[in-house]
Amino acid sequence: MSLNVGILAIQGDVQENILSTQTALKELGIEGTVNGVTTPEEISNLDGLIIPGGESTTIGQLSLVNSSLKKIKEKIENGMPVLGICAGMIMLSKTADDRVIGKTDQPLLEFLDIKIERNSFGRQKDSFEADISMDLIDIPKFNGVFIRAPSVTETGSDVEVLSKFNEKIIAVKKGNVIGTSFHPELTYDVSLHKYFVNLVKQVK
């Protein structure tokens, strides 16, 4: 049984997520392939999907163009595990407002019942690295890389909070779907990718 993991390759940090996932598979001794995916056909064959960091307005609009957004939604509703990183978490959310601009009218998957504040920690000069923890999924220490990062300001009753930093929610989980404000692919620690790969394996 070989896992088929895809990284949504519309725009953003695709290659780094491919490598982190490959490393995770190797360290866990799980067989699997990892590829960048863009089309609905490629997405329909996946066992798990990572929506990487990038610009959420760009990724949203362009995945709408070739109807991959619709396909992802369908797959999530059928239980496919998804890891949404930064822009990816924004994509998974129900509502996203910008800290300065306010309401934005961008295409979203509307799966996670969360409200997002985009650019929550400020502009690029305020981007930061810090130690964080995700005890609920047995990752007690992780180097969080936050780049113009969003945070979660409200969560629905079925959404678990995995981590907070300075009172802001920075990682959430609902069933097989995980969202993070920070970029695990920009560190050499693949423990979150390993957790995700294990989740994909369990579901398959």
Binding site: A9, I10, Q11, G12, D13, V14, Q15, E16, L19, S20, T38, G53, G54, E55, T57, T58, Q61, L62, V65, N66, C86, A87, D98, V100, I101, T104, R118, N119, G122, R123, Q124, K125, D126, S127, F128, E129, A130, D131, I132, V145, I147, R148, K164, F165, N166, E167, H183, E185, L186, T187
Partner: protein, 322 residues
């Protein structure tokens, strides 16, 4: 994975602060280079006002670059080209959610300081503006804000990275609507990368030392680059891009993304052109989609191009020898 370390222990731009949940670090190489990662496979568009910035965002641009005049108008106007009005930069920062970049003159440390204080997301130390220092570029490690620099060759790119650039754009000839120079320089960088990669693979360290001397950079960065077989930071194409096909062609040469200067807002169909260039950049590998994108624009509305041979001002040469 592109290396995210490359840190200098004397980098003054790194800020360590204590917060309620523990220490935070800002301005690290990981954060600066990581910011550029988030732009990959995207289009950065030159804009001069809020209206253009909003068109760019709606078209799917990953970022906007604020200028006082578009490069082609800089070329026409002559005189000294400086950084854009802070008031306009702030207006744009308050009206779009995507990152906002701005240009400073080559070597002009205080234009850069002003832009950092303004809180722009990235500073472009750019040859489109009139250089302020013929001999030095800015020592970018002193800044918390990341920088992008232009380069025409591998040696120029590596010198800029050693000065702290978190991103490179291979130079074309700005404001011409002519993609020829951009193509030439990307191919040159690619050829040089192949050459040092093959030296690295052959295990001839002496020859790598010779390359480092020729490039006027450290051995370490030459070795790191040779091992990777690509630039150690994100590399976009820039200069003279006017159509979706231009953008797709440059992506096919191995660029991580595209900067479009005058090509969009000097055309008569800016909205469609912005959208079509984004589509062609995203789906460059699917010629059918590039054709659809190209169909969205009308060649009669493209900006009138300039033959590079006839130019009196070659912006690409600025800062190249330093």
């Amino acid at each position: 994975m592109l290396p995210l370390s490359g840190e200098r222990s004397d980098a003054k731009g790194i800020v360590c602060q204590k917060s309620d949940s523990g220490y935070t670090l800002r301005g690290t190489s990981t954060l600066k280079r990581g910011f550029a990662h988030m732009l990959k496979n995207g289009v950065v568009m030159d804009v001069t006002n809020v209206e253009q910035a909003q068109i760019a965002e709606e078209a799917g641009a990953v970022s906007v670059m604020v200028l006082d005049k578009l490069p082609s108008d800089v070329r026409k106007a002559g005189g000294v080209a400086r950084t854009a009005s802070i008031r306009i930069i702030e207006e744009i920062m308050n009206s779009v959610t995507i990152p906002v970049m701005a240009k400073c003159r080559i070597g002009h440390v205080y234009e850069a300081r002003v832009l950092e204080e303004t809180d722009v997301d990235m500073i472009d130390e750019s040859e489109v503006l009139t250089p302020a220092d013929e001999h030095h570029h800015i020592w970018k490690w002193d800044f918390t804000t990341p920088f992008v620099n232009g380069a025409r060759s591998l040696s120029e790119a590596l010198r800029r990275i050693e000065e702290g650039a978190a991103m490179i754009r291979t130079k074309g000839e700005p404001g011409t609507g002519n993609v020829a120079e951009a193509v030439t320089h990307i191919k040159k960088v690619n050829d040089e990368l192949r050459a040092i990669k093959s030296i690295y693979d052959s295990g001839d360290n002496q020859d790598l030392v010779r390359m480092a001397r020729e490039f006027k950079v450290s051995y370490d960065i030459v070795e790191e680059t040779a091992k990777l077989g690509r630039l150690p930071v994100v590399n976009f194409a820039a200069g003279g891009i006017a159509t979706p096909a231009d953008a797709a062609y440059l992506m096919s040469l191995g660029c991580d993304g595209i900067f479009v200067g005058s090509g969009i807002f000097n055309a008569d169909d800016a909205k469609e052109r912005a959208r079509s260039i984004v589509l062609a950049t995203t789906f460059w590998n699917e010629p059918e989609k590039v054709k659809e994108a190209q169909k969205m624009i009308d060649e009669r509305q493209s900006m009138l191009g300039l033959d590079v041979k006839t130019l009196e001002l070659r912006m690409q040469d600025r800062g190249g020898s330093a």
